[in-house]
Amino acid sequence: MGELLTVNMGPQHPSTHGVLYLELKMDGEIVVDCKPHLGYLHRGIEKIAENRTYTQFIPFTDRLDYLASMNNNLAYCLAVEKLLNIAVTDRAQYLRVIIAELNRAVSHLVAIGTFAQDLGAYATPLFYAFRDREKIIDLFDSICGARLTYNYMRIGGVSADIPAGTEQLIKDFIAYERKQLIEYNELLTYNVIFLARSKKIGVLSKETALNYSVTGPNLRASGVKWDVRKEEPYLVYNKFDFDIPVGANGDSWDRFKVKLDEISQSLRIIEQAIGAIPEGNPVSKVNRVFRGTGEVYLRTENPRGELGFYLVAEGGFTPYRCKIRSPSFSNLSVLRELTRGLNISDLVCVLGSLDIVMGEIDR
C-alpha cells in the first residue's frame, strides 16, 4: 500500500446529490475510508417547529425531503392528528393515499433518472424520467397551486378538493406510465453496461441494514420484506391489494430495481383508490390554532424509508419538541461501511443507489 491520498468530494459535486461532503482516503483508485460530513443544509427546522404553531409548521415539512413533499406533509399531519385524536373523513383519506402514492412514483422516477445519470447514461434516462415526472407535477400544480413545495395536507384533511377532471387525468397517467415502465426495463434495467456497473456493487447485508436502521427500498433490496404500509397500515392502505418488491442480493442494482417495481405497485394502489373514492368533503374543519398535550411518535413509509415525527406537546400553541427521524439520515450512515475497498467510480454508484436527499438529512 502506497501513501494514502486525501480527496475532498463535495460539498459542490454533481454526484453527491446535494451539499454532501465526503472526505475520502484513497489508495490509488481504491477508497480506503469515506467519511461523510453533513450540515451544509442545516436550517434548524426542529427549532423552528418549537416557535411556530402546529399549522404554521406544515410548509416547513415540504423542505425536508423536497422530492416527496406530499409524503412529508402527510406524516406530520398524521402525527398531529394522532396527538389530538382528530378524525379525518373517508374522502380525505383516499385523496391522501392517491396523492402520496403519486408523489412516491415521482420521487422514485427522479431517483432512477439521477442514478442512471451517475452511472454515465448521460441525460437520456434523466430526461425520460423528468418527462414523466412533469405530468404529475402539473397535476399537483392544478390541485394545490405549487409544483414542488405543496403545503397541501392540512391537520384534519386537505386544503382543497381535487378539481373536476383530475380523476380522468390520473387514470390516463397510470395507463401512460405502465407503458413507460416497460420501456425503462428494456432500455435500462437489463442493459449490459448498466448491469456491469451496478451488479454486486455495494452489497448491503440484511444484518447490517437492520443494525444501521436502514429503511425503505434500501432495506427491501437487502431481502427484508418490510413495509409500514403493509405491516402497520395507516390511512386506508389495508383496503388495497399490493405487493412489496424485495431484492435478492442487496446490491446497487437491487436497490434500483426495487424502486422501479415500487412505481408499478404505487400505480396499482392509485388505480384501486381512484375506483373506490367516496363522496364527501375532504377539506379540514379543524381550527388553525389549538393547544395540545401529550407525546406521540408516528412513522410513515416515505419514498426513501420510514419518516418519523416525535412530537411532545406541553399545552402550548406550539409543539414543545418536534424530532424528525429522517430516513435518508440513517441510510447515509451506512455509506462508510458499504464503500470500504471500492473503486471511486463505484462509490458514486453506491451513493446514487442509496438515493439520499440532503434536505432531510441536515434538516
Binding site: 436502521s213 390554532v289 427521524r325
Partner: protein, 154 residues
C-alpha cells in the same frame, strides 16, 4: 406486546433497578441503562434502534430512545433522565450502529456527552461552535423566537 409486558420482563431480569412506567414510555435510571439495552437487544428481539433524541425539560434532560421489535411489531419508547450537572450517558452505538449518528446529533444540538462513543463530534453545526441550539435557554442575536401575535397570547 405491551409496555407492561416489557416492563415485567425487565423487572424479572433486573430486580434491583428502578423503572417508572408512563402511558407511553418506560423510564429507566441512567446507571442501569446500558444493561437494560443489552438485554432488550439480545433477548427481547429489539434489533432496530429507530430513533434517539432528547427533550430539554429545563430542570433536566430527557433522552428518548425508540426501539423496534420486528417479530412483535412493537415500538418501545425508552427514556432516561440526565441531570443538568452531569450531562453524560453511556453510548449504545456499540449495540446498534444506527445510534452512532443519532447520538452525535443529540450531542450537537443538546450537548449531552455519550461515553464510549467511537466518534463523538458535532454532526450538523461547525466544530468550533459552542452553542447547543435545541436547548430551551438558547439565545443568539440572530435567533428570533416565536412571533408574539395578540391572538396567540390570549
Amino acid at each position: 406486546m405491551l409496555n407492561s409486558e416489557v416492563l415485567q420482563k425487565i423487572k424479572n431480569k433486573f430486580p434491583d433497578i428502578s423503572i417508572e412506567e408512563t402511558p407511553n414510555a418506560l423510564i429507566i435510571s441512567k446507571s442501569a441503562f446500558l444493561d437494560v439495552a443489552h438485554f432488550l437487544k439480545d433477548e427481547m428481539t429489539f434489533e432496530n434502534c429507530h430513533c434517539v433524541t432528547a427533550v430539554d425539560r429545563k430542570d433536566k434532560m430527557e433522552l428518548v430512545y425508540h426501539l423496534y421489535s420486528t417479530p412483535n411489531h412493537f415500538m418501545l419508547t425508552l427514556k432516561t433522565i440526565v441531570p443538568l450537572d452531569d450531562l453524560t450517558v453511556e453510548s449504545i452505538s456499540g449495540l446498534w450502529r444506527s445510534a452512532d449518528w443519532l447520538e452525535r446529533e443529540v450531542f450537537d444540538l443538546f450537548g449531552i456527552k455519550f461515553l464510549n462513543h467511537p466518534d463523538l463530534r458535532r454532526i450538523m453545526n461547525p466544530d468550533n461552535w459552542t452553542d447547543f441550539p435545541l436547548r430551551k435557554d438558547f439565545k443568539r442575536a440572530d435567533f428570533i423566537p416565536r412571533p408574539q401575535s395578540q391572538g396567540l397570547n390570549k
